[in-house]
């Protein structure tokens, strides 16, 4: 492949891999900005991927080509409902948020596999017929060089992901709700004194993160795998968590980090076929561990300082100092 052909392949693959990470990482931003650590993103994504596929299989005849989009919506609702468990435990019951998140991860994959075996009698579902379609964006696709890279045969869900990131930035930084969200995550007692309902804001934030992680999971299963099994979601949730940290708890930063991680994944699967000697010589394992290694470096302060919201991880107990 020539260099330009490589780009024509790598860039769409990058965006396709990044889209589920963007949704989930933005969800993580909402939750952590409100002061609730959400390690359970992986389990919420599993739930979304599972619900998306099962809904798609059952209702493909009813909704036709709209099926994957309705499935996204249903996955969002189910994962949002599932995340209420994490919210109740970590906000109302003052559970250790990390432990509760670990429980959510175990529970998500267990419920999904239990149900799949119950319905299909085997470890994975059938393949869906109605995948999320690739679209060509009119006008923009005719731009020379850039057009075929970014605007030809992209998944509609990828466009949606980028729109969601921009919307999240607007909500968190430009609306009263966003200001409350951030204040609750930085100093809940001060926020409480000013009349903000800390518990309510945190519940909303966790539920938003659940819904977005659900969409992320359903996008992944309906674009990448086409079925659901035990390894469908294999670390994407944790990679989204990494993207959120690498993006410094900022929606646009998280999106950029997710795109970069998508790039690393695209390189890992295609490095062997790229006609650039330098890249061919690098074993694919380095591309596979790149997102995780970079996140560690970012946290250690080698790539700018990453500061978590101050109250992240601690339950708010009214009246305590």
């Amino acid at each position: 492949m020539s260099f330009l052909e490589v780009l024509y392949f790598i860039i769409p693959t990058t965006i396709a891999y990044a889209a589920p990470l963007i949704f989930t990482a933005i969800g993580g931003v909402f939750s952590e900005r409100s002061g609730v650590v959400n390690i359970g993103l992986e389990g919420l994504m599993v739930m979304g991927a599972f619900v998306g596929i099962v809904f798609n299989l059952f209702f493909a005849d009813t909704f036709g080509s709209w099926t994957p989009w309705v499935a996204l919506l249903v996955a969002m609702l189910v994962s949002a409902a599932f995340s209420v468990m994490h919210a109740v435990a970590s906000i109302s019951f003052r559970a250790d948020q990390v432990v509760s998140g670990v429980a959510i991860n175990m529970l998500g994959i267990a419920i999904a596999l239990f149900t799949v075996k119950m319905i299909y009698g085997k470890g994975q579902t059938d393949f869906i017929q109605e995948k999320i379609a690739r679209i060509n964006i009119p006008v923009l696709q005719d731009i020379p060089v850039i057009g075929p890279m970014f605007f030809k045969s992209v998944y509609g869900s990828s466009v949606l992901a980028i729109l969601v990131a921009i919307l999240a930035w607007f909500i968190i930084y430009k609306t009263p709700f966003g200001l409350r969200l951030r204040s609750v995550g930085e100093h809940p007692m001060a926020a409480d004194t000013m009349g903000i309902n800390v518990t309510k804001i945190r519940y909303i934030a966790v539920i938003i993160s659940g819904g977005l992680a659900g969409i992320g999971g359903a996008v992944y299963s309906q674009t990448m795998t086409g079925d659901f099994g035990h390894a469908t979601i294999n670390g994407q949730g944790f990679m989204a968590l990494a993207a959120m940290i690498f993006g410094k708890w900022h929606p646009i930063g998280a999106m950029a980090a997710a795109l970069f991680f998508g790039f690393a994944q695209a390189l890992a699967i295609s490095a062997g076929s790229i006609d650039v000697e330098f890249i061919q010589k690098i074993p694919s394992v380095f591309f596979l561990i790149l997102p995780y290694a970079l996140t560690i470096l970012a946290l250690a302060g080698f790539i700018g300082k990453a500061n978590a919201p101050k109250a992240s991880g601690t339950p708010y107990i009214k009246g305590s100092r």
Binding site: V99, A103, M106, A110, F114, K117, Y292, I296
Partner: protein, 348 residues
Amino acid sequence: MSNKVVNILVPIISIILGLIVGAIVMLVSGYDPVAGYIALWNGIFGDAYAVGETIRQISPYILAGLAVAFAFRTGLFNIGVEGQLMVGWFAAAYVGSTFELPMIIHLPLSLLAAAAAGALWGLIPGLLKATFRVHEVIVTIMMNYIALHTVNALIKAVSGGGYKTEKIHPTASLRSDFLSQLTDFSTLHYGIFVALAMVIVTWFILEKTKTGFELKSVGFNDHASQYAGMNVNKNIILSMVISGAFAGLGGAMEALGTFGNMTNRGGFTGIGFDGIAVALLGANSPLGVIFGASLFGSLKYGANNMPNAANIPLEIVSIVIALIIFFVASGYIIRVGLQRLAKKKEAK
């Protein structure tokens, strides 16, 4: 009600609640919960073979639980047990299959290699925590995935492009004909004694040495420890290294006892994450870890009998385990409930 009674009641109530909700899930899904739990029981205690396999399953759970619990006592949350266990597994399998030595050297060397590999994987988050104040939870999660991909690449490299390492030599094996025959030819091996020995080592370090006192002190209050003249950073690193070594030994159980080699893995073993549950249920004490590991190890192995005997997917047990963790973590609300109950009794 005294604090001690409540501390014991919370895990017990959590287990009961977990089993009840599991039964409800089975009922709603159209399965028979009674038949399910009977199948589970028989899967654990049904015959000598099942008991042997259950004990075999408990050994890595004890070590994984110890790893989590040990770090917890120094105030560190080691989610990286999974990755530390995997590098330990590989190291033991590699040393066990590559070198040819008499057993008296080979077996300890293989165990040591596993512990060292796990310790190395724990050292990195420990160092980053001590020097840059980086939160260990995120670093250890990332280290898990680095371990997964690195180990797979290493298996490919040492096997010349294959997907599994060679079988270990008998001189490095924990397999025991005696234990195997005792339990109707199960794969029970000497690993359980290694695990129990490590429980005693943990208890000794934590309760009987100056180092253990310092580790616990840092866990209670690092500022006070610093003021008292302890080296907080050194203790953080030490705690992660010891924790990682236990996790690595857990991997050695699989390499030298159960499987005798390591195969390319598509995902995690799950033992490391279950170790969090074990430590949590055991209140991070060495004795509690034996209790937690016995419960979760039994549940995990007994579940294998459920699809055949009662036609129920074995994931129901994972649901129950997750729920138990969830209830133990939400212990605050159980405590409140217990106190209300106690007050009502007093009023009468």
